[in-house]
Amino acid sequence: MIVLEKRPQPSKAWSYATPLVAVVATMVFGGLLFAILGKNPIEAIGTIFWEPLFGEFAFYYRPQLLVKGAPLVLIAIGLSLGFRAGIWNIGAEGQYIMGTIFGAGAGLAFYPMEAWFIFPIMIFAGAFGGWLWATIPAFLKVRFGTNEILVSLMLVYVAEQFLASVSLGLLKNPEGFGFPGSRNLQSYESAHNAELIAGSGMHWGVVAAFIAVIFSYVLLNRHMLGFHIRLTGEAPRAAKFAGVNPARLILFCLGLSGALAGLAGMFEVSGPSGVVSIDFNVGYGFTAIIVAFLGRLHPVGILLAGGLMALTYIGGEIAQSQLGLPAAAIQVFQGMLLFFLLAFDLLTNYRIRAARSEVA
């Protein structure tokens, strides 16, 4: 008989080890999955994790790591603050879309004027779009006690419809021969989020992601508000006695995560993607949830987890073209990672003991 014994203190060692154990377990079971699909598991795992970093074309893939990782880290940092306080924003995908629409819309409004202030305005507009979209569930929760999980998620579907609407109407390229989608921001210099060093993948979104990591680290460890966030998550009753204002916390956590998701969308549309189109969003908002948990809701952890997840995206694409591995297999692979992570987390809080069978 195996029994679980609650640890008096969560194990530090296990809290660092679980993400690694989860990654290894995912590789093993992912390999099994690939084997079932008729692919060589060693080759497939190798392609996903090795090829983008050290393979023949690594010079091309390495910059991609920054491009894919930046939005994931940016969104996940925002989500992690809320998750720590038990505030569940799972509609980051919608906030990402609204940031895109607002950001790109602000830029295109100036077309074809060229000026230095256009890009900063787009940054503000993008953050504002995401903030606005996240503030809806925050406001409803504060004012009416509405469940933020469901509202933020419903708003993803609303945002997707908005995206379809603007790519076919408001933001449609007038010189696009009737095709849906906006003007390409890459060819509009003042609005282009260009690489800061050519060929490095480093654009303003990557810079913003690094700033967000540092900002969130300082906030959580050195600031009263960060302390309140942690306190609310770990001991809600103690937080009440300590005078934490829950309404302010909800508005702050949701609003900030929305603004960061909006920024991620804005940097994506003005840089790597260039065009507002119906299928613009690819699920970064949902994958970021995995990133946040994989990084143990810790800023540095999220940075590493974002890199790893970006690796599975890029490696997955390589495996898709070279081995014919279906795109959905990578999605399953990422889902599995979250499963194993949550399962192995047991070891952080509980000790597993063999016990003699006895009457309880």
Binding site: N147, I149, L150, M154, L155, Y157, G169, L342, A343
Partner: protein, 306 residues
């Protein structure tokens, strides 16, 4: 624009069809939540049910076997939720999200070979006399059998929760798991059964979309129905018959907006398409004032050591 083209009889009849996936998923989740567990993986279980049901009915040619497979598929996926939340004592919100993310990917993987295929059709029930009544006949008595199964499940859940010992124990576990444990009830065992039931219902709901409502397989075809089902449970204040009412209300909105799209109303298609989601939010806001009906232990992890 021609609103005259909308046939009210067809509208109400298709409303019942549109409501059924929602109804099945929501009644399953209601039982899960009554047992004190919050499973946010409804969307994932539905989509896995949708593809399991679709694949099996295409392979065997029998929609009935398809629905059985869908229920099993949904339940198997919910077993992962059981492992995470009941044995590994993981956070229920995170585990539910994991279930949905995994389910969406897994179903896309399983469904690759089934895109663009038409499933065997189930055929409608024809009840002599009743089905032939004008107006009421086509609205109420000319549907596929699963629609009636859905209503029967609602009735069964209502009766079980209200009149049986099993229902009482289930509610006790959901209201106060520590007290239920002290009384000698197997909290974990009861919750596992409830979660599996919820998974099976969600699976059925998913298969109803892929086999009857659409009928076709496309990736991510549940399009948030699972999440609306979660909202519906709140809307229903955890009461079975109100789930039915709510599902028909949402079904009605969905069908109406589709009809308005087809009739070419001056409102852009995208704005009509977002209406069910916006109305869900509005309803949640109106009803969230009353939290007293929620099972007291909802979402809390149980471990006998406490």
């Amino acid at each position: 624009m021609d609103l005259g083209e909308i046939n009210p009889i067809l509208l109400v009849a298709s409303l019942m069809v549109a409501a059924t996936p929602l109804l099945l998923a929501a009644i399953g989740e209601l039982v899960v939540e009554k047992a004190g567990v919050l499973n946010l993986g409804v969307e994932g279980m539905m989509i896995v049910g949708a593809i399991s049901g679709f694949a099996i009915s295409v392979e065997t040619g029998s929609p009935w076997l398809g629905f059985i497979a869908a229920a099993i598929g949904g339940a198997v996926l919910s077993l992962l939720f059981v492992l995470l939340t009941q044995f590994a004592l993981a956070n229920q919100v995170a585990s539910g999200l994991a279930l949905t993310l995994f389910g969406l990917g897994f179903s896309a993987l399983m469904g690759q070979r089934y895109v663009g295929i038409k499933p065997p059709s189930m055929g409608d029930v024809h009840i002599p006399l009743l089905s032939d009544i004008p107006v009421i006949g086509p609205i109420l008595f000319q549907h596929d059998p699963i629609l009636y199964v859905g209503i029967a499940i609602i009735a069964a859940v209502w009766a079980t929760l209200k009149y049986t010992r099993v229902g009482l124990i289930l509610r006790a576990v959901g209201e106060n798991h520590d007290a239920a444990h002290a009384l000698g009830y197997k909290v974990i065992k009861i919750r596992i059964i409830a979660i599996l039931f919820g998974g099976a219902c969600a699976g059925l709901g998913g298969a109803y979309i892929s086999l009857i409502r659409v009928p076709q397989w496309t990736e991510g075809m549940t399009a948030g129905v699972g999440w609306i089902a979660l909202a519906l449970v709140v809307f229903a204040s955890w009461k079975p018959w109100r789930v039915l009412l709510g599902a028909y209300l949402f079904g009605g909105i969905t069908v109406l907006q589709l009809n308005l799209q087809a009739a070419g109303v001056a409102i852009p298609v995208e704005y009509l398409a977002m209406s069910p989601y916006i109305i869900t939010i509005l309803v949640l806001v109106i009803l969230s004032a009353d939290k007293s009906r929620a099972p007291a232990s909802l979402g809390r992890t149980f471990h006998a050591s406490h």
